[in-house]
Symmetry: C2
Subunit: 360 residues, 2 copies
């Protein structure tokens, strides 16, 4: 409730200010703060790019146009993988991306996207807002002059598209797959090869045989990319990304220059956007899955239990090696892992038990 | 981004307004709009009352004090069950409650709290924001001059506290239980008796034997009420309330009198508060469950599959009878039920499959 108490005399112009209560008066479209938001997504990309648009719109509207935010798709201002640096140095005041893209800056950033066999969306938000997660994320980004916030979640992703059936661990040997992050490292330990390919080139890579398999997000996004045209085996669940958080990052200097009300608007907008994206994916994934299975005759298959057990063990090895090398990664993983142990017990008697009761 | 374009001349006082750009200037703590929020909860009640506080605080802070919201606990301004009428007639501009309390006003209101064997929190939000649910809720409340918004969710609740083991449907016969709403009606059809008792009196009612069983919310709230002192059988899952939404209701005239930016602030704050409550319960329920099981030696038990199947069938009968009598209830249930059919398939291959993979 603290307000700027000064009057910007240059802007007030010819006003003679009296002693009376002065009510807010604004000329339309005269922003005090004009921000740029760079994103790691193609402009308007469903779910991800549209969430960036929604976030910018909420901030602009709630501030009555005092803080306008203009969204830039990947490559419009900077390439996707330069979002972090661009916001850090102040080229843009905000960024919209996924934290695991920045593992080269800080290895522990990956833990704020998703951890293989880790937390689902509901649990991830519980850890961030009520389990100390957000404080740790802020600590991790602080040296870069950045303030992070969760601004979306895809929910449990799909296991991916494969040009062959996966029956045992042997089927992963020699598999060339697009799979980033900690999950990709686990796949390499299973004998696979991982390849970094931007989303827009995945279809061609699958079609030409450059890769044998790819994961992306889930039915809503995967249908749009047309993967079903070149491969029919669609596996679940997304063990490697069970509740991927999308991030908004804010340049700390730009944030600190805002009055308190606009600061609050930015942070609350991120939280509302966080729920919005999860709701959108949850509502739209099944419609897309219906189309994939019933219209395009995709084979929807569960990854075998034995394969999942092995991937889980390999994932734990990957994480333990990472945390052994990096004290901040160890600190963050200790927090999220303790939280997982706790919350898994609660989820077992609540969400999981309910799903089972409903499907009896 | 539309702004009030007029200048409140009375407030501007002795200002001589020139042609220059006028930047916003505000005297601290001079609210343009002072709202009251009446609630159905004791003041500061954990999870529910604290969510009302958070919502009011976010609105007040984001508006820079232009719209202040003061929270009243149950009975401070009006009793819990008069929140709806108080906001409808404008005694207060906002209310914070649960929609199933208003089944006497509009039977279909219950569907916006939770439906037995219906949607969990994530699915409920997907239906509300991306499945047409919120539009139907607005249609239902419009004749009362109210605008509803989801402002919280408890997640899957617990099945309740019982003074005996529940092994078969026969154990529900003659059972006197506090269980409101559609679930309570299903229990009556199973031969039980349901009693309406305010939360604060439940402990004594259990202790004295006035009731044999009660459900409330989940471990976080149930531990605070001390039910473990008088009964040790704690059942899961909460089949009757798998993802209870809490509501903010807004007096439509008061809302329409706000400038666009403050309107947006109110609605976005509700959405952020919605995610916040679910995160709080998810983080805190397990700590409380740990205490109940390990310190207070509560017996945590699953309701038998056969009992759940029977309760599911009885619940469907209850809902079908309700919708047969009430066209608006039929319209809303048709929407939510179609959504459930769809989203259940998606949840089965995403959240449910992941929980299973994690617990192998």
């Amino acid at each position: 409730m603290q307000r700027r108490k000064f009057i910007k005399t240059a802007a007030v112009g010819s006003l003679a200010v009296g002693a009376g209560v002065i009510k807010p008066v604004l000329a339309a479209n005269k922003a005090e703060f004009k921000w740029k938001m760079v994103t790691a997504w193609p402009k308007n990309f469903p779910g991800l790019g549209t969430n960036a648009n929604l976030l910018a719109q909420m901030i602009t509207e709630m501030s009555g146009g005092r803080l306008t935010v203009k969204v830039y798709g990947a490559n419009e201002l900077v390439p996707a993988f330069e979002v972090f640096d661009a916001v850090s140095r102040g080229t843009a005041q905000m960024g919209h991306s996924g934290a695991y893209y920045w593992k080269g800056k800080a290895a522990a950033a990956q833990f704020f996207s998703s951890i293989p066999f880790g937390l689902n969306a509901q649990e991830m938000n519980a850890w961030l807002y009520y389990g100390g997660g957000l404080e740790l994320w802020r600590e991790l980004y602080k040296p870069f002059g950045l303030i992070p916030a969760a601004t979306g979640n895809t929910g449990v992703q799909m296991g991916g598209w494969f040009n062959r059936e996966i029956k045992t661990m042997a089927d992963l040997k020699g598999l060339k797959m697009r799979m980033p992050g900690l999950g990709g490292e686990a796949l390499r330990r299973a004998g696979g090869t991982t390849v970094a390919i931007p989303g827009g080139e995945l279809f061609t890579a699958l079609q030409s045989g450059t890769i044998d398999a790819t994961e992306w997000v889930g039915p809503y996004n995967d249908l749009a990319f047309g993967f079903y045209k070149v491969t029919k085996f669609y596996y679940y669940p997304g063990w490697h990304e069970p509740g991927s958080t999308l991030e908004a990052m804010i340049n700390a200097k730009a944030f600190n220059a805002l009055p308190k009300d606009l600061q609050k608007i930015v942070l609350v907008a991120c939280k509302a956007a966080n729920l919005d994206m999860l709701s959108e994916y949850t509502a739209r994934n099944n419609q897309a899955l219906d189309t994939l299975v019933n219209k395009h005759k995709v084979k929807l298959l569960p990854l075998p239990t034995e394969v999942l057990k092995n991937l889980r063990q390999l994932s734990e090895e990957v994480v333990l090696e990472l945390t052994a090398k990096d004290p901040m990664a160890k600190k963050i993983y200790t927090s999220v892992n303790q939280f997982r142990t706790q919350v898994s017990k609660w989820s077992a008697v609540s969400e999981q038990a309910f799903f089972n009761a409903r499907s009896h």
